[in-house]
């Protein structure tokens, strides 16, 4: 009896192994003519997924659908080969390995988390495959002179710098100070690469403006109790809290902050969970997120369509593309106001394929990792000519940013904007060129965190 069962189970095992071998064997299918395979690597499962990775993936997929519906680029259809990174670098690497060696893709696009982007970038460099980083923002990704890594997305330093710049140039006035150096700032961040790279530049800029840094602490985004952090914040009594977190940790923070009576005058988030105030509001109540600032590339629904031009490749107004994208997103996923990560997924994929791929085909006649790379190096799109609003030009080899760090492959023309969630609407408050309204400082009295 027992033995019977065992034989039964063993049979299963054997089948499994055989099928496994079979799949590996049959996986490299011959690609038909005029097709470009594109690897889409995104954490569709695991903790990163809800924090924006899934939204990014959806944006990417819609971009490719819209392209193919318009006949693709230069007659080539785009075949997305999606792989789930499962929020784990280890898995991401195995999937990358598979995309490159089995599917033979010339380019891998995607990646939400910097912890995944860095090893993947390194892997692609080794294997001479283009890596187009869509959302991950850690400076490290483009700080290594990699020839095959490109990123339209701004870098984490732009986040960390941007918010403080906003305070130092504009915000301090609203706080009733005559000079930035009077502002008392607290920096808190999750201890992952994302939080670290953002908060580094927070620190740098805070020093630049001579503000008073009253607290600076990291926490694990998996933490189940951060009340101690909040108590420290209360003791430090800052005017401004600069917070970089994923999602559950932000909810936990806001809930405990409210309950432990934390008071502050300005609360500024740096992307991820903060980019989705509706979801936060569901968890902690609308009044808590009301008046919250966040920095991110503007979700396309916020962009002033009048300022956007015609799409360089298809010649249709970018405004229309955005509407179509939002419409498809709503039809497919039932969300009228998708988080900014969706925009990034859509806009960056769209731009990269229409601009770089088309040039590669026209100029070099074929799509390989190297033609893509060369084409990308020549990219030069002015402000307002992409669905993300900003222009695109990748930093050449050897170029250094203002901190003297290399940033080869980094888009030099992209920037995040500071916007405030006020009375259920987003208002862009920084930089002035993009501003759609005045910031509300300090926090509205209805907000329990308000002083």
């Amino acid at each position: 009896m027992v033995r019977k069962r065992m034989i039964y189970v063993l049979a299963i095992v054997l089948v499994v192994i055989i099928v496994a071998a079979a799949t590996v064997y049959f996986m490299p299918r011959p690609a038909p003519e005029l097709v470009i395979k594109v690897g889409l690597l995104a954490s569709q499962s695991g903790p990163f997924a809800p924090a924006g990775a899934l939204a990014m993936y959806r944006g990417m997929v819609i971009a490719i659908e819209m392209l193919n519906d318009r006949g693709g680029v230069e007659g080539y259809k785009i075949v997305p080969i999606s792989a789930d990174a499962m929020s784990s670098p280890d898995t991401a690497l195995r999937e990358a390995e598979r995309l490159v060696t089995v599917e033979k893709v010339p380019i891998i696009m995607g990646v939400y988390s910097s912890a995944i982007a860095i090893p993947v970038a390194e892997f692609c460099e080794k294997n001479k495959v283009v890596f187009h980083d869509i959302v991950a923002i850690s400076d490290e990704v483009t700080a290594r002179e990699y020839a095959y890594t490109f990123r339209i997305q701004p870098r984490g330093s732009a986040w960390g710098e941007g918010t403080v710049e906003f305070l130092g140039e504009l915000g301090y006035k609203y706080l009733g100070y005559d000079m930035p150096s009077k502002v008392k700032v607290a920096i808190i961040h999750e201890d992952g690469p994302y939080g670290v790279s953002v908060s580094d530049k927070n620190r740098w800029a805070v020093r630049k403006y001579g503000m008073q840094l009253v607290l600076d602490e990291a926490y694990s985004s998996k933490a189940t109790d951060i009340s101690s952090l909040i108590l420290k914040l209360k003791a430090a009594d800052p005017d401004v809290i600069l917070h970089t977190g994923y999602f559950p940790d932000i909810v936990l923070f806001l809930k405990q902050a409210r309950e432990l009576g934390l008071k502050t005058r300005v609360y500024i988030g740096h992307g991820a969970g903060h980019a989705n105030p509706r979801l936060l509001a569901e968890s902690v109540g609308m009044e808590v997120v009301n008046g919250m600032f966040n920095i991110d590339p503007a979700p396309c629904q916020l962009l002033d369509k009048a300022k956007l031009g015609k799409d360089p490749y298809f010649g249709v107004p970018i405004g229309e593309l955005i509407d179509e994208f939002l419409d498809r997103y709503y039809k497919k996923y039932g969300d009228r106001d998708p988080p900014t990560h969706a925009t990034q997924g859509f806009a960056h994929v769209w731009t990269f394929i229409t601009d770089v791929f088309s040039r590669a085909i026209r100029k070099y006649g074929k799509i390989t990792a190297d033609t893509i790379r060369m084409a990308a190096e020549e990219t030069d799109i002015p402000e307002g000519m992409t669905p993300a609003g900003y222009g695109v030009k990748f930093a050449p080899s050897g170029a250094k940013d203002k901190w003297g760090k290399p940033w080869r492959g980094q888009n030099m023309r992209s920037y995040p904007v500071v916007y405030q969630w006020i009375e259920g609407k987003h208002v862009i408050v920084w930089p002035p060129a993009m501003a759609t309204g005045e910031p509300v400082i300090p926090l509205p009295p209805t907000n329990p965190l308000a002083k």
């Binding site: 899934l54 109790d225 009340s227 559950p248 432990l260 569901e282």
Partner: protein, 282 residues
Amino acid sequence: MIIEAFINGLLFGGVCALVALGLNLLFGVVRIVNLAHGEIIMLGMYGVFWIYSWSKNMFLAGLVTVSSLIPFMVLIQKAVFNKLLKAPGINQLIATGGMILALSYGAEIVWGVDYRSIPLTFPIAQIHGVFISISRLIAFAIAMSCALLLYLFLYKTYPGMAIRAMVQDSEEAELLGIKPEKMYVLAVGITGLLAGIAAICLTLIYSIHPHVGGEFTLFAFLIVVLGGLGSLSGSVVGAFIISEVFTISSILVGLEWAYVITLIFFILILILKPYGLMGRGE
């Protein structure tokens, strides 16, 4: 600040204790180290969430969740635990480890990966400038009353005593005519009950996602082992010790190192008292 931290630690400890108690009861009676206890609570949290958002009635939500978790646990007992009773400990760990994957990713398939949480907001309580988190206070109160009821049940009722007999010496208990199978079902049922209640408390504090369970399991284990496997009072004490060590050390050295310190503290204690603070040994 330290005082406030201490109080928070205390409240946090209450929540941890609730998670740990179920885990420990299961071990004490069924002799199963259930790594997936956190995941079961996670299921409960989803239950609470859905029923609440449908009915807007916390009590109903809690009631339904608890009453559905109990049979669920019994089911697991019949399907998995019973088959592992004779197996070596490591096999149990693997099977229950497998349950972690199965449950959390099963939840991911069913409910998706989005974070959910109940938009319940509590008034802010303040005594002499010391703020107290109401949600945690509630959780703490529930936890403590559960511990008390459990105590009364175990020490004042016949089935309770039978369970204790099982915990102390299962062979002896059998000689006394106690049917192990029955006790298993009873204990597992209670575990389910506790898990359900823990789920209610946690939904008040944390946002819900398929992997939320794992975040408590480690703490729960530290507590159970520190207090002594099979010693319920130990679990409660252990919960407070661990949470205080964690909270205080995170005030002193920051949250990141707090984990390391807590774990090292745990290892030291266990080396000094090999069977936990209140453990009886083998």
